[in-house]
């Protein structure tokens, strides 16, 4: 079963990397949101995959379901922010969001 686990974790890590790439390089704020979605898939896969590899699927399922609920809340909030930002700046370009320095 362990080999299965590492295979799944490997794909999960790849998904995370793709999502992170999107967050780092994309200019359209909606693409940033897609990056977050891909990361979430990576995390869900890791959780269920781990449960599957350990025959603890029931616990893993509960965790993933709860995580998906959290994901929806975050998506709703993020999209609300994006819509407001577009109303203010008339642009979806993340490069315009540089008024504040870190």
């Amino acid at each position: 079963m362990i080999e299965n686990w590492f295979l799944i974790l490997g794909f999960s890590a790849a998904l995370l990397a793709v999502g992170l790439y999107a967050l780092l390089t994309m200019r359209n704020v909606i693409k940033l949101f897609i990056g977050f979605e891909v990361i979430s898939k990576g995390v869900s896969l890791a959780l269920v995959g781990t449960g599957f590899a350990r025959s603890h699927v029931l616990l893993a399922q509960s965790l993933v379901i709860t995580f998906i609920v959290v994901e929806v809340s975050i998506v709703a909030t993020a999209l609300a922010l994006i819509i407001n930002i577009v109303r203010k700046t008339n642009s979806l370009d993340v490069r315009k969001l540089t008024k504040l320095r870190g």
């Binding site: 362990i2 590492f6 295979l7 799944i8 974790l9 490997g10 794909f11 890590a13 790849a14 998904l15 990397a17 793709v18 790439y21 999107a22 390089t25 994309m26 200019r27 359209n28 909606i30 693409k31 949101f33 897609i34 891909v38 979430s40 898939k41 869900s44 896969l45 269920v48 995959g49 599957f52 350990r54 025959s55 603890h56 699927v57 029931l58 893993a60 399922q61 509960s62 965790l63 993933v64 379901i65 709860t66 998906i68 959290v70 994901e71 929806v72 809340s73 998506v75 709703a76 909030t77 999209l79 609300a80 922010l81 994006i82 819509i83 407001n84 577009v86 642009s91 979806l92 370009d93």
Partner: protein
């Protein structure tokens, strides 16, 4: 095993397409397909509830919210992604892929796993009896999200 690898690869492929696609609608559809595949993977892993949730919520609800946002932000115009980010991606991906495989193969013998008994009970029991506090948390996070949206879309009468 082969089937699993195929599905996982499909998931990865559609996710990559969703990120790199130029048209946002194509992006959305690609993401939904990726969610669909993930849901199927969950089913095959013996996690039907997670599969149902993934398909109905992520492939369904979130895609709808996504489309709604795209429609509402048409005013933002088109944002050209830099050509570089699309070109660099394959390099990035291969690099990451190699590191990934290397790490996973290397970890294989090293990680210790505690053997423990099989799970008892049905899913309903686990969710409602063991993870009851999680449900409180779910309620809380839903409320927080609802209030967040209410706050961010409220009509303002006057603001200093």
């Amino acid at each position: 095993m082969i089937g699993q690898i195929l599905l996982l690869s499909g998931l990865l492929l559609f996710s990559i397409l969703a990120v790199l696609a130029k048209d946002l609608i194509k992006s959305a559809i690609s993401l939904a397909l990726a969610s669909l595949i993930l849901g199927i993977i969950f089913f095959l892993m013996g996690a039907p509830y997670a599969g149902v949730f993934e398909i109905s919520v992520v492939a369904g609800l979130i895609t709808v919210l996504f489309m709604l946002t795209i429609a509402l932000t048409k005013a933002g115009g088109d944002v050209r992604e830099s050509k570089i980010s699309t070109l660099v991606f394959p390099v990035f991906f291969i690099l990451v892929g190699l590191i990934d495989i290397f790490v996973m193969k290397g970890l294989l013998p090293k990680l210790q796993i505690l053997q423990s008994g099989a799970e008892t009970g049905t899913f309903a029991e686990v969710l409602w009896k063991q993870r009851t506090f999680d449900l409180v948390g779910q309620l809380a996070v839903i409320l927080a999200g609802v209030f967040a949206v209410l706050a961010l879309f409220r009509k303002k009468d006057n603001h200093d």
